[in-house]
Symmetry: C5
Subunit: 305 residues, 5 copies
Amino acid sequence: MKKNNFSTDQTVPLDVPLDKRAHYLKNLHTLTKDTGRLFIFAGDQRVEHLNDDFYGENISLDDANPEHLFKIASMARIGGFATQLGNIARYGSHYPNIPYLVKLNSKTNLVPFSEQDPYSAAWYDVREVVAFAKSSKLNILGVGYTVYIGSKFETAMLHEAARIVLEAHRHGLVVILWMYPRGQAVTNPKNAHLIAGAVNVGASLGADFVKINEPEPVTDSGLKEIISAGGRTGILFAGGQARSLDEVLNSIYLHVNRFGAAGAALGRNIHQRSTTEAIALANAVAGIIYDGHAPETVRRLLIKE
Amino acid sequence: MKKNNFSTDQTVPLDVPLDKRAHYLKNLHTLTKDTGRLFIFAGDQRVEHLNDDFYGENISLDDANPEHLFKIASMARIGGFATQLGNIARYGSHYPNIPYLVKLNSKTNLVPFSEQDPYSAAWYDVREVVAFAKSSKLNILGVGYTVYIGSKFETAMLHEAARIVLEAHRHGLVVILWMYPRGQAVTNPKNAHLIAGAVNVGASLGADFVKINEPEPVTDSGLKEIISAGGRTGILFAGGQARSLDEVLNSIYLHVNRFGAAGAALGRNIHQRSTTEAIALANAVAGIIYDGHAPETVRRLLIKE
Amino acid sequence: MKKNNFSTDQTVPLDVPLDKRAHYLKNLHTLTKDTGRLFIFAGDQRVEHLNDDFYGENISLDDANPEHLFKIASMARIGGFATQLGNIARYGSHYPNIPYLVKLNSKTNLVPFSEQDPYSAAWYDVREVVAFAKSSKLNILGVGYTVYIGSKFETAMLHEAARIVLEAHRHGLVVILWMYPRGQAVTNPKNAHLIAGAVNVGASLGADFVKINEPEPVTDSGLKEIISAGGRTGILFAGGQARSLDEVLNSIYLHVNRFGAAGAALGRNIHQRSTTEAIALANAVAGIIYDGHAPETVRRLLIKE
Amino acid sequence: MKKNNFSTDQTVPLDVPLDKRAHYLKNLHTLTKDTGRLFIFAGDQRVEHLNDDFYGENISLDDANPEHLFKIASMARIGGFATQLGNIARYGSHYPNIPYLVKLNSKTNLVPFSEQDPYSAAWYDVREVVAFAKSSKLNILGVGYTVYIGSKFETAMLHEAARIVLEAHRHGLVVILWMYPRGQAVTNPKNAHLIAGAVNVGASLGADFVKINEPEPVTDSGLKEIISAGGRTGILFAGGQARSLDEVLNSIYLHVNRFGAAGAALGRNIHQRSTTEAIALANAVAGIIYDGHAPETVRRLLIKE
Amino acid sequence: MKKNNFSTDQTVPLDVPLDKRAHYLKNLHTLTKDTGRLFIFAGDQRVEHLNDDFYGENISLDDANPEHLFKIASMARIGGFATQLGNIARYGSHYPNIPYLVKLNSKTNLVPFSEQDPYSAAWYDVREVVAFAKSSKLNILGVGYTVYIGSKFETAMLHEAARIVLEAHRHGLVVILWMYPRGQAVTNPKNAHLIAGAVNVGASLGADFVKINEPEPVTDSGLKEIISAGGRTGILFAGGQARSLDEVLNSIYLHVNRFGAAGAALGRNIHQRSTTEAIALANAVAGIIYDGHAPETVRRLLIKE
């Protein structure tokens, strides 16, 4: 399998100061398990989607309790678990081994985009995250932040994202930017050319990885344009709405092994299952991303209760 | 009765630094009287509802004087008395024994939601509260802050709430978030699924307790979804509009003893009565919340002038 | 006459630190002439009403010159003279004996409320006022700030007012809040119940005194509700539009001696007269407020040119 | 001729600290040439009016080059040359002898008032100007700032103006406020009573001089009301649109010698002429303002190419 | 050929402190290759135009990869390469010899001007750029910032631009301002008189160079008015949309050698070609700007694959 070239010093961006390079590389190698690839377990939807993703039809009752996410994150072979700092502070002492990513901003879905373009400010400065990491002794490897390009509030988020990257790198943390075209001016957020543009913005902001949605329709030229736009910045595809196990595994394999994406970020597709099923699925995904296995190889790991 | 597990170190959130854990636990144990449950006497309506709750038909004349609240708070068996710092500064020297909670933000009800989505900024930084606590030697155990999710100004309040939690925990203070869905985008703020979402947001912000409204209608599945969403974060139900004594006591018992809520926050239901009646009612409520008594047991404490 | 209980230490709010209590009490005693009552000469209208109050029909030509206010304030028996710091800095060296109150915010009346809800930010931090007081050696006893509750910008002013009180008290200064319901959501700003609500807000913000408009109509129950809402916070009635001498004196007597208001704040009613007449009227008002005299007793002090 | 009373210490406003009084007086005496009067050469229109005032019909080609303003300012007998710091930094090393005033805020005229009320934030803090003055060794005597009263953004500009005065005085700099009623709520910005109100606001903000437009129509009572409102604050009339030489000289003489204005601020009327003509006109104006000469006396200084 | 007079100390603006003059002059001489002229390779469009300029018809596939820009910048004879700091941090260690300019603000083109006037805040403070330059040891010679005059948000950008110039000069960095009239109030952004006004604003802000669009139509009088407005501030014309090689070379020659412009800033015209062609074109442009060659002289450098 193709390996991203994270193995030498040259891959450390220059806004990481000399005395933080080792720390940055350690964080990066932990997240990528030395492969240059990354599998994020996304657990920030309790704010973004309120209780819709956690309670209802076709959702395991396990998911009604916030601790469910921590159980999965602590037992499955993920690269990083992204959630809000408040959750990490509350459950972290029981789950000290999780590789944490602090999602810095979140908003609810109550105000529709037709009423107001989205704006989501960071809840914390990176320095506060660094202080928390030090004081809690938890394994905080990086931070995440969502940018809605195309929103009328775009400039505030670009400004904040740029400073988050600079400050996080200054402290040796890895940065993932969620890059989403959104707002009344955005009529087709799944357009591949537009998503490639979103990658451009995330890369220009200095992100180590950008998380984007899969384009619709999925075409070879579209995926190629997107991955190419990333350059040395890793591309992570979001899992999106719940799909069949086969669809999930096949699409990750396509992105990563055929087109050179850096990995995936999955939330609902994992946590809406029972703890056991969720862990099994996460491990199967890890087999594709970190080991380069084919879907048919990892499918044996799955459990269907 | 069921006891919340606040008895060990592991219940202290990790954003409380090591040297403030003892202080945090002392504050928590004072508020919860070592039960893990909490009864708040809410006295911040003089701003929120102007003089509507304090003067008029069916309201004791005792309530026309702001000192009424302090008399009740100092003599009844409450967990914490939440009001604005200005009131505490003015009356605190005469009522030094009250367990105080500083309500950090407040707004009037003059601008209707149909005219403008609500926004209520904190009046003080937590550091100012900490300095006041030290200088005044009063018993300030924690802080409260209201978040209106669904408001167009939601992101400013989420940002402020997150920082308040972090800063309060940094100083060993307990945090209660008032979580209310409000604004033109919110058509049914009493919907149980939405309230569970509000709990999610408050928990993700790192609150120790979230104060919410009781859903309408009250259903078993709704209450279960809400309490479950809290996880290790305590759920407090607000008292709401004035109700009969029986209704008040029965509903608290239902929430706390049948569904595992952490407690209640009552204002009008208590302070619109004469000082004597109010203290008696508060003591009855304390009997349910802190001692696990049934309504019929505590009803003998009530006084009806 | 009834005396407010400002004579003991217990009346010092607890946000005044121990080492500033003596300074605060000295300021308070100077303003209230040891009676607990307060007579403010309000001289901030040059911004609020531009030149309307100072030049025109029925206005003495003396009032066309800004120094007129300082002449009155230096020679009449007032408690405090409230005006903008820029004026104090310009004329203060010639009028060093005046008991000054710095009015921190002001706005013009050019934009009608129907076009935009009012918002008036503080021109200075309290710390700058404290530095000015020290450097100028002037007699700065306190600060004033206007809050427009009901304005869409209310939350910004509540936030600023709360911090001004805290900071002023921290430095031993007395605080007067001008509490005015204003904005498109306020249809009846002179309603007694609403004014009582404004008092609640000012008291909750920690003001030592709140300045309000007289309700319309003036009823016993309305005045009683308002004064009662103040609690330990003093109520000052504004003078409002120019009225006859008898009306002015009678209404102050009614407020203070019959209902227990702390005093009055007069501007136009005084300064639109010639310097000699203005001083005489101010002294008559002082006789009612500070000495408890009846209007008929002080009327002999008046001069009518 | 009448002399303003700037000759004693008492004229120094009290927000100038003791150790900066000598510096303030030196700046004031340089600007006023010991007469208490002031002639400003206004050179900030390159932003305010873009290139309209500098290139076109009836404008000397000399005015197309930004250095033209500096040539005039360095050779004519002006009191102060007001322009943006960027220009001063660029040309200052070649024109070190000019008495400079830094105009702190400027906006273009592209957005019409019917589209948006004007708002113009300061480009620099006064402290940055002070640092620049020290580092450049240029002769920076004071600062200027425009306030648009009546704009919906008025409160931001009042706040900023007040702080600029305080900070400038703290460093011994003289302050001139451009006071202009503007915005959709202002239907008659040239009304004398309104301009007197603008003077009130500027004086209350603590300005040493306020620059205003001449009222329309020009009446004795209007000019008297305006000058009287200034009190100890000097009144400067703006030159406005290009006029005949006689009109310019006569109107300055009227303002200063008949009504007691402190002086004038001229821009276009001077710089749209050739360098030689412009210098001659400026010297004639200086003769009226600083020497009290009559227009017919100074007219011999003029050059008409 | 005409040389700009950058050879003596007097050309250093006075906001560059004494101890940074040598550093400023070194940066300026590197950018201008001691000619006083400047050729910028503009590489900030990945945000401004998303992926439109980098992938599609008539665009070399080389341009799909972000590293393409760095290859050109490192091998062609440019004066400065302007791009976002995030890109520089990511690729800088492989391209340490490039003369970098950090473009401080950028926005996407998703929100049309008809929906909202443009506003683009700086992503970084200049101090952060300075810290990055020091820590990365890269060759950061200056900064760039775009100002949209005529936008309803103009005042925020003027404020920010002024402070960027001051801070950059304080650290010895060269400043280029992109000056673009934009917004609903701007009906003809290519009008020469308006562009001359934009130059006025950029010069008054203290820029060393202003980058503007070529006026339409291109007339002698228009170009003369624009260049004259610059005075000692250098004028750079933007390349704009892709044009024929002859058009590109001829227009630069016209601007620089006939009218005295300081140079040009080209992006798309260069980078949409293959790496080899792009480098050849850039070298031809450098021949005109830096050596004063005629288009026919440099045309032999071109490569057409």
